[in-house]
């Protein structure tokens, strides 16, 4: 393999990693705070992608601008998800919680199938086929935009979690729910807003993804599985872990794809998952609890 192809795979992997990170971070945030696994995460991504598509198809809105509309809508979805479903699911055993979000995932997929049919929809912009040459590597403009925007948002999220009072209360709840409650933090409120932020990140990811990919009712499922691998590799509930996991998965996929056949490349993230579960079951960036 030539150096040019290696560099192409490297840059492609980093960009994929950044977008995967954006998707995974919402999942890990919700888990970190509420200890609930949201199997419908990918379906909310699908909804955000359809929002991006329809804003472009019906109103000619550029997907980058559509982020401004999709993010509040997805945050509302998150609040609705908490108030309407998760709030009640928190009181039942974990296995039932999983069944609830899994059911929601299937429901949303089939609703989308009824409303939008199974056909793929594409957003076609002049920049869809544009590429920027960085030395021997050509980066597609939509991919580059998605990668950069993901990094920006991840930085913003990091600052929110580590530098604001809201972030402090979130971290407090995630460390000790009872302790936080005793200190006067309203648990319900923190849960509601964590869900809003966790799902809201998909409002950014959706329009970016649809401009480089396509959207159909099952597109979310492609990413749900990957997001789970990422958060488990990085450590469930860890922000940095999700980011690290995303980069590892993105790079591993891309580099393995350049060397081997696609089936082999697709198995690499799962091999990593098995290795991590065997060697460091708590994830790369989470310290084992005493």
């Amino acid at each position: 393999m030539s150096l040019a192809i290696f560099l192409q795979a490297l840059i492609g992997g980093l960009i994929n990693g950044a977008t995967y990170g954006l998707i995974a971070v919402g999942l890990t945030l919700v888990f970190g705070v509420m200890r609930i696994i949201n199997f419908a995460h990918g379906e909310f991504l699908m909804i955000a992608m359809y929002l991006g598509y329809f804003l472009w198809a019906l109103a000619g809105v550029d997907p980058l601008v559509a982020i401004l509309a999709a993010t509040p809508v997805l945050m509302l979805c998150g609040i609705g998800l908490y108030g309407g479903i998760v709030r009640f699911a928190l009181k039942v055993p974990e296995i039932n919680q999983m069944a609830v979000t899994l059911g929601l995932s299937l429901l949303l997929q089939h609703l989308a199938l009824m409303l939008f049919t199974g056909d793929n929809q594409l957003v076609t912009l002049p920049r869809s086929t544009a590429g920027i040459a960085l030395g021997p590597v050509v980066v597609q403009v939509p991919q580059l935009l998605a990668g950069c925007a993901s990094l920006v948002l991840l930085v913003v999220l990091y600052l929110v979690i580590h530098r604001t009072d809201f972030g402090l209360t979130m971290r407090a709840v995630s460390q000790s729910r009872d302790g936080a409650s005793l200190s006067g933090i309203s648990i319900g409120k923190v849960y509601r807003w964590s869900m809003a932020v966790g799902i809201g990140t998909l409002g950014v990811a959706g329009p970016l993804m649809v401009s480089m990919l396509y959207v159909n009712p099952h597109v979310g499922a492609l990413f749900t599985l990957k997001a789970f691998v990422i958060v488990i590799v990085g450590g469930l509930g860890s922000f940095g872990g999700a980011l690290l996991g995303a980069m590892i998965v993105g790079l591993a996929e891309s580099l393995a794809g350049a060397w081997f056949s696609a089936s082999v490349a697709a198995s690499v993230p799962f091999l990593l998952l098995i290795l991590v579960l065997l060697m460091r079951p708590q994830g790369l960036l989470v310290r084992r609890r005493a």
């Binding site: 977008t19 590429g131 891309s254 089936s263």
Partner: protein
């Protein structure tokens, strides 16, 4: 959703039985078994096939039914495979032993077709394979199995014929690359391509595979570009193909593209606009084939369902007419061996069943209809049949 599908299937069954009851008062009907997936993963495809079967049956009955049996009406007995091979087998048995059908048409995928056709062979009832393309189906020396659709490996042969035609017209094709989806679909089609290109001594300069749903195919595009291929044979679903074409365009790499089957000749591809323009695709049938029977079928289908039929609908439609004509020629619907003998002798060069892209629908010694594929090109944002000349709507737009 499952419950809804079951309900819908039930409703369909009730509709057909009540239809049948209406005819039964007049005289014995000619029963034709239709084995399709009405529920399960392939429900959408099965329901599309059913529409075409139903359209053919309605037309046969409107034209006076089966003439040699005093105008007996055709009655479709529909059975649901539930997209499962084992159900397909048991339903085929039920159609033959309980419903006493004169022949069976079906059953969408090769996996569901093979067990059902074995049942038909055992019970000596003709089985017309409408859409399954696995080569082996008509290579097992079955006496009661017929197929209107082509063998899958013939697509590769047709593509090579087309490449040679382009070469004679001074289109530069010296280096060929393969880009395929790394699943059963992509792998089997690519194997056929490799075997046949190898036999012709045509070198393959690159083979790039990808998983369906990859968000970035930049590396694959870069490797294809580095191979210097001037024709890329793509075997992929339309969503992945659009990602690949965009990645190639962003690297200023615009070779000739020849896609495969319904994965390429798909409305989604046209959303790519200028990028899809000029690309070719090999496909079993096109609604614009230059044949009077195709025109009539597309018109009737549109009038009844307000939709454009896909290639498998044309195959299902032709199979229904063949089943009716075999009963007519045999002069009996109950002696299925005679129906089989009549089917073997069939040769339909005009009329509704002649809409597939060969001169005449007929079965060879193996029960296989010798029908090739056609090549469609995107011209002015539409799929247009450009090859073979006999049925082409227009000549290919060449870029030299």
């Amino acid at each position: 959703m499952q419950a809804f599908r079951t309900l819908r299937a039930l409703a369909a069954c009730v509709a057909f039985t009540s239809l049948a009851a209406g005819h039964a008062q007049a005289q014995e009907t000619v029963k034709i078994g239709v084995l399709v997936p009405i529920t399960g993963a392939h429900a959408a495809d099965g329901n599309r096939l059913l529409r075409a079967h139903q359209l053919a049956a309605d037309q046969i009955n409107a034209a006076g039914g089966i003439k040699s049996l005093g105008g007996a009406k055709v009655e479709l007995v529909v059975a649901d495979t539930q997209s499962k091979p084992e159900v397909s087998r048991s339903e085929a048995e039920r159609l033959i032993s309980r419903s006493k059908v004169s022949s069976i048409l079906g059953a969408w995928t090769s996996a569901a077709t093979i067990p059902a056709m074995q049942v038909a062979e055992r019970y000596r009832t003709p089985f017309i394979v409408t859409s399954a393309v696995t080569d082996a189906i008509t290579e097992k020396n079955m006496k009661f199995v017929f197929r209107v659709s082509p063998k899958s490996s013939w697509a590769a042969e047709n593509v090579i014929d087309f490449i040679e035609l382009l070469r004679t017209r001074n289109v530069k094709i010296d280096r060929i690359a393969l880009a395929f989806e790394d699943g059963p679909f992509g792998q089997s089609a690519t194997t056929a391509y490799k075997a046949r290109l190898g036999a012709k001594g045509i070198a393959i300069v690159a083979e790039e595979s990808f998983r369906t749903g990859s968000p970035d195919l930049g590396t694959q595009a870069a490797k294809l570009k580095a191979s210097g291929a001037d024709l890329v044979l793509v075997v992929a679903y339309v969503d992945d193909e659009s990602v690949l074409l965009r990645a190639m365009a962003s690297q200023q790499y615009r070779p000739l593209i020849l896609g495969y089957g319904g994965g390429h000749v798909h409305p989604t591809l046209l959303q790519l606009g200028e990028l899809a323009e000029g690309t070719y695709g090999v496909v079993e049938w096109m609604p614009d084939l230059k044949k009077p029977s195709t025109e009539a079928f597309v018109q009737a289908y549109r009038a009844k369902y307000n939709d454009v039929p896909l290639s498998n609908a044309a195959q299902a439609y032709a199979a229904t007419w063949v089943a009716a004509q075999a009963v007519n020629d045999a002069g009996t619907a109950s002696d299925t061996v005679k129906v089989r003998d009549a089917m073997k002798a069939i040769r339909i060069a005009d009329g509704p069943a002649s809409l597939l892209p060969n001169d005449a629908l007929a079965f060879n010694d193996q029960g296989q209809n010798e029908v090739g594929n056609v090549i469609a090109q995107v011209i002015d944002g539409k799929f247009v049949t450009v090859w073979p000349d006999a049925v082409a709507a227009r000549a290919p737009v060449l870029r030299n």
